[in-house]
């Protein structure tokens, strides 16, 4: 996310890739100067991409928020005064299949940045699970295995027991990790596998079009709980990360989100700490990212982030759940 650039001018350099943009509008929401707008024309995706307003560059503070929040890494900001660069990491490849405003893209960008900055791209192996994350291997330029639904942690153990030098991580949704794969998940914690789990909890089955998930909220309307989740028919939402943190083999557990620029910066720190903990404590690290699914929730991407803060955070509270022995890794 940050790096040195050549000093050339006082004004920042800001670029919006109109072809990559899906028009989700989260950059408009994130801009403190209110200088981003929708273009008047449509791109090849059939959406109006975002752009700076006329003379916007003069008012731009080069904070980089628009680049940080863009789930598709379509924005580049060079703060030439402070020598800061915000934009797509070299390991982040390909155009993503995710819906406009999906938080998964943001998490991929953070993973690429952390792997790159820690210098572990030659030993990092990702395990992409079934769900929207099934194509994660298309977006980060490292070795990947694609696992069956719910089995990512078992596949991860298969890799790391044979190659202890590899830095294995999984990217799993809530249906995968907390539904069909809950046994595999708990036993990874019980064994103390040195896996980093990135758990994207959006409280819904996204890829199949928005069905009730183990983590769906009470009252949440989905395509299979049309009157809202109720105890009689659906039981209660399952809270995974606290439960995993209770296991001796899980040494690091946090819950976070990527709904705005500050939370994204914090999440990047947590993902980095998870990989550091993996190397240091050789046991399970869990980063739960409470995520928005605008399509599954039937909400506008910006409204989805508001819904996330208002409705998901009370059930899935952000914060550090388990610190590793000796404190947070640095």
């Amino acid at each position: 996310m940050t790096g040195t650039v050549t000093e050339g001018a006082v004004l920042p350099r800001v670029e919006f890739d109109a072809q990559i943009c899906k028009g989700c509008g989260v950059c408009i929401e994130a801009c403190p100067e209110d200088i981003i707008e929708y273009a008047g024309t449509f791109n090849h995706r059939g959406v109006r991409p975002t752009q700076l307003v006329p003379d916007g560059l003069v008012r731009c503070s080069a904070c980089g928020n628009c680049a940080v929040v863009c789930p598709d890494s379509a924005v580049t900001v060079d703060n030439l005064r402070k020598h800061l660069h915000y934009g797509k990491n070299a390991l982040r490849i390909g155009d993503m299949h995710y819906c406009p405003g999906c938080d998964e893209g943001t998490v991929h960008e953070l993973l690429a940045e952390v792997i790159d900055e820690l210098g572990i791209k030659e030993v990092a192996v990702g395990v992409a699970s079934v769900g929207c994350t099934v194509f994660a291997y298309r977006y980060i330029d490292i070795d990947w295995q694609q696992a069956a639904h719910g089995r990512a942690t078992s596949v991860a153990w298969g890799i790391e027991c044979q190659h202890p030098e590899l830095r294995v991580f999984t990217v799993q949704g809530d249906g995968d990790l907390a539904g069909i794969g809950i046994g595999e998940t708990f036993h990874a914690a019980a064994r103390g596998d040195p896996t980093v789990i990135i758990f994207l909890n959006n409280a819904i089955y996204g890829m199949t079009g928005g069905q009730l998930a183990p983590t769906s909220l009470m009252g949440q309307v989905t395509s299979t709980s049309l009157a809202g989740r109720n105890v009689k028919d659906h039981g209660y939402p399952i809270v995974m990360t606290e439960a995993l943190a209770l296991q001796e083999g899980c040494s690091f557990a946090v819950r976070t989100s990527v709904h705005d620029a500050p939370s994204i910066r914090k999440t990047k720190k947590y993902i980095r700490q998870a990989f550091l903990n993996q190397a240091k404590n050789k046991s399970l690290s869990v980063v739960e990212v409470v995520s928005a699914c605008p399509s599954g929730w039937r909400l506008d991407p910006v409204d989805a982030h508001k819904y996330l803060v208002e409705h998901l955070f009370p059930v899935y509270k952000p914060g550090v759940i388990k610190e590793p022995p000796g404190g947070m890794p640095r």
Binding site: K121, A128, D143, I159
Partner: protein
């Protein structure tokens, strides 16, 4: 020194038959486990289930001391997915189970077949359906050779009839897995898994095995990323992939057929039976030959590929066929198809025992007499 190794160092014999030099006395499951070690497996992923638990017990004792991996998973499903991960990371690995546990592994086997990963699976069959019985049966023939999991894949399936073959075919299966980048299955009934016999271990053949440059070992030196996956969304791409898979299955069918023919050349009645049923039928053939009937045996050893080539010399004239299985009639379909494809409309009868009941040689001789009376027109 572990008990397993101790057993192997001693030259022992059975109560009736002294062991020759270099022979050891082991039960079927132990012979499989020891042969797997001698084939250089790096990892074994376990879950207990009768009657195959001697395999995990043997390997739990031996593998850690050899610097290899033994992991007891939380389920058969988890175990096969650990195999997926380790095989995808380029290591020689194995899992084993018995019928209900093999059912649980089917999804993983389908993924392994789709992703073209080499691995070795053992099914020590028990009676079913459902929880059934722990006694040996052959009720998983269809599951083993017709895909088992979803998606129309095939894999080499070998069926031993002796403890010696348990060891030999384990080594063969592990070799074929690496040779063709495919899961392979050793399929035996629970009785053979528990049977003690003398055997002599062969040497694993490493020759000509391709390098595993596709494995996810980290992209060291900046090599292109490797991907282990079975998802191919675009229909034309998946069709092309599936055509390649089936071209591979055709190569396997051409090259890897195995069978035992016993006194079938001049036989008027040929019994077709695999595994333990084949072994019992062999004794039945001896009984009938002693009684003056020209009866022979065709024992398929490779169940996939089905040994069509073994039938070719036997279709030179009309014969009568009796298929004997420890199930309600599964392989008999492949026997009928094979004979039809080879241009014969000979009568094919079936005799089966089920639920863990084992037929006797005398019983098989009686069935031959009943179905095909000497000089009769039936």
């Amino acid at each position: 020194m572990t008990a397993g190794a101790g057993v192997l160092e001693a030259t022992q014999g059975t109560a009736t038959e002294p062991a020759a030099e270099g022979e050891v006395l082991l039960k079927g499951c132990e012979a499989i486990a020891e042969a797997a070690i001698r084939s250089g497996i790096d990892a074994y992923f376990a879950y207990p289930i009768t009657p195959q638990t001697d395999i995990p017990e043997y390997l739990a004792e031996r593998l850690p001391g050899l610097g290899k991996t033994y992991t007891q998973a939380n389920s058969e499903i988890s175990a096969i997915n650990m195999v997926y991960g380790a095989a995808g990371a380029g290591r020689r690995c194995m899992t084993s189970s018995s019928s209900p546990g093999i059912s649980l592994k089917q999804e993983g086997i389908s993924y392994i077949a789709g992703a073209e990963l080499p691995c070795f699976i053992v099914n020590v069959m028990r009676g079913g359906p459902g929880l059934g019985t722990v006694y040996g049966s052959q009720e998983d023939y269809w599951q083993s050779v017709k895909g088992g999991g979803h998606g129309g894949y095939r894999m080499p399936v070998m069926a031993p009839a002796t403890v010696q073959e348990c060891a030999d075919l384990t080594m063969l299966c592990i070799r074929l897995a690496d040779l063709y980048r495919t899961p392979t299955l050793l399929c035996l009934d629970g009785t053979l898994g528990q049977m003690w016999e003398n055997l002599r271990f062969g040497k694993f053949d490493e020759s000509g095995l391709p390098p595993k440059d596709w494995a996810t070992t980290g992209r060291k030196g900046g090599r292109k990323p490797n991907l282990i996956s079975s998802i191919i969304i675009e229909p034309p791409d998946l069709e092309a992939h599936n055509r390649e898979l089936h071209a591979k299955y055709a190569r396997i069918s051409q090259r890897e057929q195995r069978w035992e023919e016993y006194q079938a050349d001049d036989a008027d009645v040929v019994i077709v039976a695999f595994g333990l049923a084949g072994r019992i039928a062999r004794t039945g053939v001896d009984l009938m030959r002693a009684a003056g009937r020209k009866v022979g045996l065709m024992r398929p050893i490779s169940l996939f590929p089905f040994p069509v080539d073994g039938f070719r010399p036997l279709v030179n004239r009309p014969r009568k066929w009796l298929v004997v299985e420890m199930n309600a009639g599964q392989m008999v379909e492949d026997v009928k198809t094979t004979l039809f494809d080879l241009g014969r409309l000979d009568p094919v009868k079936f005799y089966g025992r089920q639920g863990g009941v084992i037929p006797t040689p005398e019983e098989i001789a009686d069935v031959v007499e009943r179905e095909f009376p000497k000089g009769g027109a039936r």
